[in-house]
Amino acid sequence: MSNPARPPSDAPLTSQPWRHVAPSRMAAWDAAAGRPVAWAELHGRIGAWQRRLDSLAGPGQQWLLHCRSPLEFAVALIALWARGDSAVLPADDRPETLQALAFRCRAALGDLPDGVVADPAPSPPRWEPMDPARRALSLYTSGSTGEPRRIDKTFAQLDAELAAHARLWPLEGRLVISQVSHQHIYGLLFGILRPLCEGAPLAGAACRTPETLGAWLGRLADAPQAPPGAVLISAPPPLERLPETAIPPAAAGRLTRVHSSGAPLSAAASAHARRVLGTPVEEVYGSSETGGIAWRDQRRGETWTPLPGVEVRADDEGGLWLRSPFLGAPGWQPQADRIAPGPTGFRLLGRADRIAKVGGKRLSLTGLEHRLARHPDVLRAHALPLPGRPHRLGAVLQLAPSALPWCRDTRRARVAALRDDLAAAYPASLMPRHWRFVASWPSNAQGKLGAAEVARLFRDLDDPRRPRWLGVETEGPARCRVTLEVPERLSYLVGHFPDQPVVPGVVLVQWAVALAEEHLALVGDFRDLARLRFPQPLLPGERATLELAVDTTAAGPRLAFTLTGQHGCHARGRVQLAQREVGHGG
């Protein structure tokens, strides 16, 4: 395949293309207001960030960076790069994630607790040279086993990949609208760095909903100085959920390309998105470590074509081997996916078998999952050695709603039936010991069951004061619904009633407050309880749903909770908290 020529407007990061651009030129598009943002404004922001960072430390630092706004993220990143620093991009802004990374970094920047932000006053920027071999940034994977893995990228690696993208998909001045997080490699490359290198405007805010997308594209059609069309950086979750009427008639034809990455898009979802958005969907296959590997447009079938410069081959078992300028390591590198090579590319066959060593025996986790998923009530299964318990397996099973166990007896019967079925193929030591039955698949923003979700699902094993966490559904920032189960080993059960242990009411209130702190960022000091009712006792082994809603009163935040089980309400009430006095140091 001949490589298309690199567009003349494209320049590598290390040449700092933003440095030479005319100040009056459009850098970004304020899509909500329908007006351009000039480079002069961004240069002033870059300078302001540098002045703030200079006040903290000399160059050569590493900073933890998390900004929700793509534009603010871009100026902060340019500012620190042009100072001679590098960035650590946390995968999300959960306290556990940040705590694990903070020690590596001089300070946290952006939308983070105690995050440094630039002064509003503009300042002239300065441009130190950027060495291609220097580390530009570190990213983190969110794997379901073990700790998130750190991946370093040099400027040379990023530039190699950006050049390949520019050849295949020149932006030609179109507006880049992103629906994905730029804290991950795909959103970073496609949503931020491509437009910066190619001089194309990026949308100043993240586009969260299909309604926003429709409105932005509609406004693009009206505005006099608007960019000539738009490119959408998306992913399977938003594309699969696109309403039929996402694009208003006025905006038809404004979108000229759609990208999707993170997971393969089903053929049906690809066709649906193509019809609704009126433009082909070009998928990118890759990972944080490898960068992009291949791309496809499903109008031409399911075959993936390697990106320019990337070489792919299969070993005897179909395992994918990769040689790529976007990888940190030279030479052929084995990957976890299996492929079937063809004349024009390859088909993806899924992950290679996941193998675990349990009690000295090798076990295919994939095989165990397939066996569990044979049962008609099991919609999805994931088996894994538990963190801190390498010889014990856990299993996360998504069950049909009618098959979810709501009390101890049904749960025991369910586990016994699953074990009976496995007993035909597995010795007792290779059977999961800890079972988690969920109604919907617990996943992170990338749609994956990540390490944080796994830790939540099994944390009752290490803390006998906690309920068993079985998933959360959030409805906006102030409401959520947590499913939980009462472990038989719960320490509070001991000695309450000798014949029939129940969870004491005060414990249910504690759980409500703790889960609201975790999922709704509730902060405050306990003040008062009101309208407390415990209509039915909650027994060991029972499953229940805890609805939490936080609102703000003059006195401080107030939490309303309702705990409902199979036979009705177990607890409800309100907790009034007082605003916590927080001293903001430094």
Partner: protein, 87 residues
């Protein structure tokens, strides 16, 4: 009626092996602990052996015929602890 020692051993088994859905009442003192019955495995045997040593000072070779006999049921395990404790 379970003896206090039997109840104590049931608690020990549940705690040591982190049995999720099991309460002391679920353990039939005459049922086999391993494979059928509670469905415990060879790793459980090792862990249980360790716990018995820590709690009662009893040493058992986990792979031995003797251990197999004592681990047959909760009742036989209780008899072992009773005998060794008073020895």
């Amino acid at each position: 009626m379970a003896s206090p020692l039997e109840h104590e051993l049931k608690q020990l088994i549940i705690e040591t092996l982190e049995l999720e859905d099991t309460t002391p009442e679920d353990i039939d003192p005459d049922e086999p602990l391993f494979v059928e019955g509670l469905g415990l495995d060879s790793i459980d045997a090792l862990e249980l052996g360790l716990a018995l040593q820590k709690t009662y000072g009893i040493q058992l070779e986990a792979e031995s015929e003797e251990a197999r006999r004592h681990f047959a049921s909760l009742r036989s395990l209780a008899a072992l602890v009773e005998a060794r404790r008073n020895a």
